[in-house]
Symmetry: C2
């Protein structure tokens, strides 16, 4: 048996989310169906992050074990030919036996895109949250660092979370405005909020974005963000931002996904 | 009767093109259906450019005449609530009686987007042409100006064109590489070729892009582009680039779409 790692990009618009669900299309279920079609085996894959309906990924990671003789780096191309256009496997590789896409992760980055224009081009609707009107980006950028560090993020955790420990370490929140070649004009810009942490509670990024947007709209200050964080009370924070602005960008395993050079079995001396 | 102008953005992916076709969804047909639903009247709209299946628009223009009492600037919002998410009316206004979206146009801009990366994010697949491998962007940018000016563009006209005169004036071809906030990483860039002309022959932009990409791939030079142009022979030029990279950006009417201040009827002196 070999343990195979996949790096996966998808547009989540037409899916009920990562996780397999009865009678609804999921990213996991679609990749498992492609694996079955390729190998004839029913194989369960394990994803790093259970993205919700409408959430995208540039670098989701999943792993599965298989007895197939297909070379590990060929799975990506072989499965891509079975997959619909909105799911693309970026690469595949063999990883150590004890690698698990979710439990071996040490850092992840999620990015949230906001369009502050009055109108969003139709082809970007499924990819950004449109927030028209007053938007003080400097106030948002000044408030965001209040969330960096190791904290109990209960105030930004949806109640349905199965997680017990609500403590997470946010390493960085990077707020940038960058042009998109895909706007109305070439100078159309999107606001990007990229958060890097050792893990995220359920809906944590979307609750944080909802709260930071309140600050941008003048309905709160950086001090309010600190107060909300310390309250550990979800009702203090802003509304959960909608799913379509969110993408899982990458997952870092600090080398746990790299196969060591296996020592060659010593030849018996005759 | 009033003559109403619409500015229209759409993602053409799920349409057979601008023009009404039997049994296939079209942009024109979808907007006409929304107009019928709004006003009860079967109204024909006239578009500035007949974009093909899979081609998009940021600023298509159309006009129609109507007896309705709906204020002209309210049509956009009223119709948007009837239209699917991939078509957005950006604005509506009353225009002079003799304005025609197609015949009154004096300049148009089309833009073509190319992704030269090895792999394109799934959410950009319907919006760019992926051209992996060797790509000499400087050679492309150096060849493009050979097409500026007033020329017979027969070499870049698909045979099925109903146009008789193949002479057009290209004012500008602007080749830029710009970052997209929507790539794999924040530094992902797309190549944009924006062409401005007084009019375009059928498939002209796509044939020109196909020819310029040959130059970028080392299968031709700037001098070849001049030679192809002068040949007036379609078989000399490159293949027609695929539709999904193309967008109609704007149409300019040099003021012919602006209603003059109507002189107030002079009051009779009693």
């Amino acid at each position: 048996m070999r343990n195979i790692r996949l790096t996966i990009a998808y547009e989540g618009t037409n899916y009920a989310g990562w996780q397999v669900q009865p009678n609804r299309p999921s990213i996991q279920g679609t990749i498992e169906a492609a694996l079955k079609s390729l190998t004839g085996e029913a194989i369960r894959i394990h994803g790093a992050g259970r993205t919700d309906a409408g959430v995208h990924a540039a670098g989701q990671v999943a792993n599965f074990t298989i007895a197939s003789s297909i070379p590990p780096d060929r799975f990506a191309a072989a499965l891509n030919s079975e997959l619909p256009h909105d799911i693309t496997l970026r690469d595949s590789s063999e990883v150590p036996d004890d690698f698990h896409a979710r439990y071996s992760a040490v850092r992840k980055q999620y990015r949230y895109l906001i369009d502050t224009a009055d109108m969003t081009p139709p082809w970007l609707r499924g990819l950004v949250w449109r927030v028209p009107g007053r938007f003080d980006e400097d106030a948002l950028a000044a408030a965001a660092p209040r969330l960096i560090g190791t904290h109990d993020f209960s105030a930004f955790e949806s109640k349905s979370s199965p997680d017990e420990d609500s403590c997470r370490t946010v390493f960085d929140i990077n707020v940038t405005r960058s042009p998109t070649a895909l706007g109305w004009q070439s100078d159309h810009q999107l606001l990007s909020i990229a958060m890097t942490a050792d893990g995220f509670l359920y809906n944590m990024v979307r609750a944080i974005v909802g709260t930071l947007v309140q600050v941008a709209q003048g309905r709160g200050t950086a001090d309010d963000v600190t107060r909300i964080l310390n309250s550990q009370d979800r009702s203090q924070a802003g509304a959960t931002a909608p799913p379509q602005g969110l993408s899982l960008m990458w997952v870092d395993y600090a080398g746990a996904d790299r196969l060591q050079q296996r020592p060659q079995p010593r030849e018996a001396t005759r």
